[in-house]
């Protein structure tokens, strides 16, 4: 039972502002773990991380150790990473391959599908205890995938994944359709960064087209252009300022979706081209024809942010996973994506560019991390309780299917996140 009434929680998110305790109150954070992270679909990993039977990938969702596995028949499972005997975490490497998973404490072992495989000195246990599946490695109540992206929910009664994603599913498709083979692979490890601040700061930032002119001023050269952030002879970099002096990024639109998802429109106007890009494009044309290829490569979305766990970076061809640790501590992983069937150079370029855009040492992310930490310091002030998300309020265009579009770096994406937060947090 929460110490907060549902009415009180609803009152923390107004139409145009949110209460600072969303970012600072440890009890609100605990309730988020229960009412948000315990109830919606959370990204676990990608099937390409476990290509072979016996492969496993350990992760954490809602602060609980989990493991994504592939069994001997090729089926994918998401298990709590916990021994059915006395509760120890079973798998301790981030990833690997094993025929059975053996607990280090008393030597119980489990099949990759979670079933109990072996118990040392078995006959000393009551026989009926050991057939109970809860003493194997327990499955997450719900697991569903879309194009290799595996999501799980701790809530057995959660709506189907497709319904939860809604129109946001198109962001996943936009990224994966760019692979000539129609599949992606997380192939090059991940960047790992952390900050002293609430997880929602990262989420708001991923829907924020308003901040780059100020926050990322140090990335703009004397010629008024930002450094090249993706490959291709054309379409790889872009002028930063429009003729009227506004940052072009801040003239760009944002969408907010039902269930808290958000998407930034693309910064790029031109298709990437030149060198290996022409070879890549020809592969897409051979498979899909010119018209469909032009559609696939049209720069629609910069990113698609799926509340509250993952960001599909379309322009940077990568996947960002957000993990809340505490009310003021957050970990983030960024995985460069391989577009399967594309020339290898395309994927190598992605690795190199993500190093300078989204790593802890990158030109962009380091200033965002500074912004998150300064926000956390600012939230400690008591002069006002309110944090504003009013930009573009009232100018949204309802595109149907739960999608609201706001141009000129509208804060419509942040509002969608906070309205979803409010609705989840104020429901018993």
């Amino acid at each position: 039972m929460s110490k907060f009434s549902n009415e009180y929680l609803r009152g923390l998110v107004l139409e145009d502002r949110v209460h600072r305790s969303l970012y600072t109150d440890p009890e609100i954070f605990e309730l988020e773990m229960e009412r948000i992270f315990g109830r919606v679909w959370l990204y676990v990993g990608h099937q390409s991380q476990i290509p072979n039977p016996g492969d496993y990938f350990c992760t954490t969702i809602a602060r609980q150790p989990m493991v994504l596995t592939r069994d001997r028949d090729g089926a994918v499972h998401v298990l709590f990473n916990r021994c059915g005997h006395r509760g120890s975490r079973v798998l301790n490497e981030e990833c690997g391959n094993a025929r059975i998973f053996t607990c280090m404490y008393h030597g119980w072992s489990f099949h990759p599908n979670g079933e109990l495989a072996g118990v040392p000195m078995r006959r000393d246990f009551p026989a009926e205890t050991l057939v109970d599946p809860q003493f194997g490695m327990v499955h997450l109540p719900r697991v569903e995938s879309h194009r290799g992206f595996v999501f799980a929910s701790l809530d057995p009664s959660v709506m189907p994944l497709r319904d939860y994603l809604g129109e946001a599913i198109r962001g996943i498709d936009e990224l994966v359709d760019r692979a000539p083979a129609g599949e992606i692979e997380l192939w090059a490890g991940c960047h790992r960064y952390e900050y002293r601040g609430n997880w929602k700061l990262q989420f708001e930032n991923m829907a924020d087209m308003y901040h780059p002119a100020a926050a990322h001023a140090s990335t703009v050269g004397p010629d008024g252009r930002q450094f090249r952030r993706r490959s291709g002879g054309k379409g790889g970099d872009a002028p930063f300022f429009a003729e009227n002096g506004e940052a072009i990024v801040a003239q760009t639109g944002v969408r907010g979706f039902r269930n808290g998802h958000s998407s930034e429109a693309s910064l790029f106007r031109e298709e990437q081209s030149g060198g290996v890009w022409d070879e890549y494009r020809a592969l897409l044309v051979a498979k899909h024809g010119e018209e469909r290829t032009r559609d696939i490569l049209r720069n629609r979305r910069h990113s698609m942010t799926i509340f509250p766990s993952v960001d599909i970076l379309i322009a940077q061809t990568s996947v960002r996973v957000i993990r809340p640790l505490a009310v003021d501590r957050t970990e983030v992983q960024v995985y460069p994506v391989k577009l399967k069937g594309a020339p290898p150079q395309i994927s190598i370029d992605v690795v190199r560019f993500v190093n300078i855009t989204h790593a802890a040492a990158s030109f962009i992310q380091s200033d965002d991390l500074e912004a998150f930490e300064r926000a956390t310091q600012g939230f400690a002030t008591s002069g006002t309780d309110w944090v504003l998300v009013a930009r573009g309020l009232g100018n949204e265009i309802d595109e149907g299917s739960g999608v609201q579009f706001g141009d000129r770096s509208s804060e419509v994406g942040q509002r969608a996140q906070h309205y979803a937060w409010r609705d989840l947090m104020s429901a018993d």
Binding site: R192, Y193, E194, S218, I348, R352, A361, D367, A371
Partner: protein, 161 residues
């Protein structure tokens, strides 16, 4: 290789560390050959910067952008600036191919980073320098930094190691 050569290379590497500690980034950039690069792998024993992410993997044009940004008055993640101090030790020559004009030197380092308002950070690991003797002096062909904690989560990293 004679000890004299190792002494020269050691002096060069210590000078490079001094430039970083003093934030003389333009002069640091000048130490790199035009085809040189600076690499901090993100996993122990990482074999390639092309097939796995790196904490840093900068060719010279990218390093130049990094240095320009470090000098930029609006670099918020360096307002206020960090102070660093490095201690280097255990210099060793690594054999290179006969007739090569390059030398390879490994060394160990510990680096402290202090920034007002931020907890003190401590980094350590191994440097592997490949250094070319050019007509106008020594140039870094590659500098690899193997951090002991390279596969951990990091808060903002602004200072080259």
């Amino acid at each position: 290789m004679s000890n004299v050569q190792l002494a020269q290379l050691q002096e060069f590497i210590e000078h490079e560390a001094e430039l970083l500690d003093e934030q003389r980034f333009d002069e640091w950039l000048e130490l790199f050959a035009d085809d040189g690069f600076y690499w901090v792998p993100a996993r122990p024993g990482q074999e390639s910067p092309l097939t796995h992410v790196s904490l840093f993997y900068d060719d010279k044009p990218t390093l130049k952008i990094r240095v320009e940004r470090l000098k930029h008055p609006k670099i918020h993640s360096q307002t206020p600036r960090s102070k660093t101090v490095r201690v280097l030790s255990n210099f060793r020559m690594v054999p290179v191919a006969d007739g090569s004009s390059e030398h390879c030197v490994t060394s160990k380092f510990v680096m402290l980073e202090d920034r007002p308002g931020v907890e003190r950070r401590l980094f350590g690991g191994r440097y592997i320098h490949r250094i070319r003797a050019a007509a106008d002096g020594l140039r870094i062909v590659s500098k690899r930094v193997d951090l002991t904690n390279c596969d951990q989560f990091f808060s903002s990293l602004t200072q080259p190691f």
